[in-house]
């Protein structure tokens, strides 16, 4: 139903607005979308999260500085993805070439289901704020690994290799991070949750 690639292509309007006018909101929307996909691709190709991040930022910096030159780009999605990959293992000298054919690129498997989306949308403000606040208590490494495991859906072996740790350490990092946050959920929430679950799962199974 939802494809990362298709939705990226649907950002054509934001790309065009940004190229024409330098609209900062649209720039952020583009960054927000491609940040995850490009880091995912970078990770798949063996680049660490930090290296991928640097490459993403360099790419967007280039786009920002050179948007006057990029007016002729018809397929922004191809352009961004192929530029990113080409420059991942080279000194980043981006060039405003016309886009190449889109390679057979993998889809991010992490895309949340309708139910997960529903949970995200309807989760109580309280819980969201608690988690957001406590996520910041995790170390940088922990946040990165949580992101790679839960959002990018990399497996433990991939995470171990990318972060130069053992698989056991990867397990422990995830476990410690989840435990830290799980303890923050107050008992009252759990009670309310049990009531909500029965109604929600009932409806979910009837209508999905």
């Amino acid at each position: 139903m939802f494809s990362y690639e298709k939705s990226g292509i649907a950002l054509k309007i934001q790309w065009n607005t940004f190229i024409a006018e330098g609209d900062q909101d649209d720039f952020y929307v583009l960054y927000s979308h491609y940040h995850d996909y490009l880091i995912y691709l970078g990770n798949l190709k063996g680049a660490t999260l930090d290296k991928s991040k640097d490459c993403v930022n360099d790419l967007f910096l280039y786009v920002f500085e050179n948007r006057a030159r990029l007016q002729h780009i018809r397929h922004h999605h191809n352009y961004l993805v192929t530029s990113f990959i080409r420059n991942l293992f080279r000194k980043p000298h981006f060039c405003a070439e016309e886009s190449m054919e889109l390679l057979e690129l993998p889809e991010m498997p992490a895309y949340p289901s309708a139910e997960a989306e529903h949970i995200k949308r309807t989760s109580q403000e309280e819980l969201t704020q608690i988690l957001q606040a406590h996520i910041n208590n995790l170390s940088d490494t922990q946040i990165k690994i949580v992101y790679q495991k839960f959002y990018l859906a990399l497996n433990y072996e991939q995470i171990a290799e990318l972060n130069s740790i053992s698989v056991k350490t990867a397990y422990n990092t995830i476990y410690n991070s989840v435990e830290k946050l799980r303890k923050q959920i107050s008992p009252e929430y759990v009670t309310a949750l049990s009531a909500a679950i029965s109604i929600f799962t009932l409806l979910f199974f009837i209508f999905f």
Binding site: A68, L127, Y156
Partner: protein, 395 residues
């Protein structure tokens, strides 16, 4: 749940796949497991929600952290201006103005700032897009506001039970045959106002999506040898197959007869042409004395001038509204009529508008009015002024 068990859960890819709904077999497996271990249900559900929220939180934290790093680089950046070799359709003054603006904003760059380049008056209360909103009018005249109703059963009519679901649909359940077949069935009407839309599941499980400023009148149960409904405005239909009871939609003088199929009818009072587009299946469309059977991909256009059948090049365009976006490929007035219905605003035209002006493009229906109009202004051919719920169009 023991900590040891918890660790093992997180180590299993299949469990995480279940939490995120990544594949059907893992989801089924773990749903079954939870059903078999009801005492563990709360812990599992808590774990699942925690993990989903952690995915979201970690993503947002990292993305924003990385974006901030990028912003710092950008504030020191120089924007390279257009060289002599530029695309000939861009005038120099526009390029220079844009470059100056970027250089200016780069210097004071902190957070994403919306530049004031539009004539649209930024209001404190921007016009919000339409949403799921409709009124159900029962046979006895009673009106029920669907958006204000809670979920669950909202009425009972002639043996049919009307329920509102969490997804915002209206579902008719109960026998398709009335207890007393001698009595005429009651008729209900669902009316979506300007700025509204609704989905209904009819007594025969057919699905109808109503667009803004549209209404559908239908019986609470289908009897006899045909299923007959009346449409004003626009709706998309997915009709269940029933060879013994063809489904008929009438709009003004036009009748569309269906056996089982997917089609869109656009028949607003303020549009001169009624358009019926067939996506799947087969329909017969009649108007006055004329009648024609359509095949998928065809569109029948009925107006005072008669009936014309064309091959619709892009079916996605016709039902774009149902999928949450506007697809424009038409005159300015037609474009603005669509905007007026969805945002519930009034359109006025200042001065003469070039009648040959055509608009093409795609805009999400869920943007605020000012965002949508701003996108249209990018074409350079049009300007808007918005005051309250009145939009003035100028060239």
């Amino acid at each position: 749940m023991q900590d040891k068990d918890l660790v093992h859960l997180l180590e299993q890819e299949s469990f995480l796949n279940y939490c995120f709904g990544r594949n059907d077999s893992d989801v089924r497996y773990w749903n079954k497991w939870v059903a078999e271990h009801p005492d563990k249900e709360i812990q599992i559900e808590t774990m699942k929600r925690t993990v989903i929220m952690m995915a979201k939180a970690s993503r947002e934290t990292l993305r924003d952290k990385h974006f901030e790093e990028l912003q710092q680089k950008m504030s020191g950046a120089t924007v390279i201006p257009i060289t002599k070799k530029r695309a000939s359709w861009k005038p120099i003054w526009m390029a220079a103005a844009v470059v100056l603006m970027i250089a200016g904003t780069a210097l004071i760059y902190r957070r994403p700032v919306k530049p004031e380049t539009s004539h649209i008056i930024a209001q404190k209360t921007d016009v919000k897009p339409g949403r799921n909103k409709a009124i159900l009018i029962l046979g006895n005249g009673q009106k029920i506001s669907l958006s204000d109703s809670g979920n669950g059963r909202i009425a009972v009519q002639s043996g049919a039970q009307i329920t509102k679901t969490a997804l915002g649909q209206i579902v008719y359940q109960g026998s398709n045959e009335p207890a007393n077949s001698a009595s005429a069935p009651e008729y209900n009407t669902i009316e979506a106002p300007a700025g509204g839309q609704w989905q209904i599941v009819l007594p025969d499980q057919s699905k109808v999506w109503l667009n803004a400023r549209s209404s559908l009148t239908y019986p609470t149960c289908f009897v006899g040898n045909e299923r007959k409904v009346q449409l004003k405005g626009e709706a998309y239909f997915e009709i269940t197959h029933n060879g013994k009871m063809p489904f008929k939609v009438s709009s003004k003088s036009q009748v569309v007869e269906v056996l089982g199929t997917h089609f869109n009818i656009m028949a607003y009072d303020d549009e001169q042409i009624m358009k019926t587009t067939l996506l799947q299946g087969s329909v017969r469309i009649s108007d006055g004395g004329r009648s024609r059977v359509l095949v998928p991909g065809e569109q029948a256009q009925i107006s005072a001038a008669g009936m014309k059948v064309t091959r619709e090049t892009d079916l996605e365009d016709v039902i774009a509204w149902k999928n949450g976006y506007f697809k424009f490929n038409e005159s300015l007035e037609s474009t603005m009529r669509k905007i007026a219905r969805w945002y519930d605003v009034e359109i006025t035209y200042a001065g003469n508008i070039d009648p040959s002006l055509r608009f093409g493009g795609k805009i999400s229906r869920y943007k605020n009015l000012s965002s949508a109009l701003k996108i249209m202004e990018l074409t350079g051919n049009i300007h808007f002024k918005v005051k309250g719920r009145r939009v003035t169009v100028m060239q």
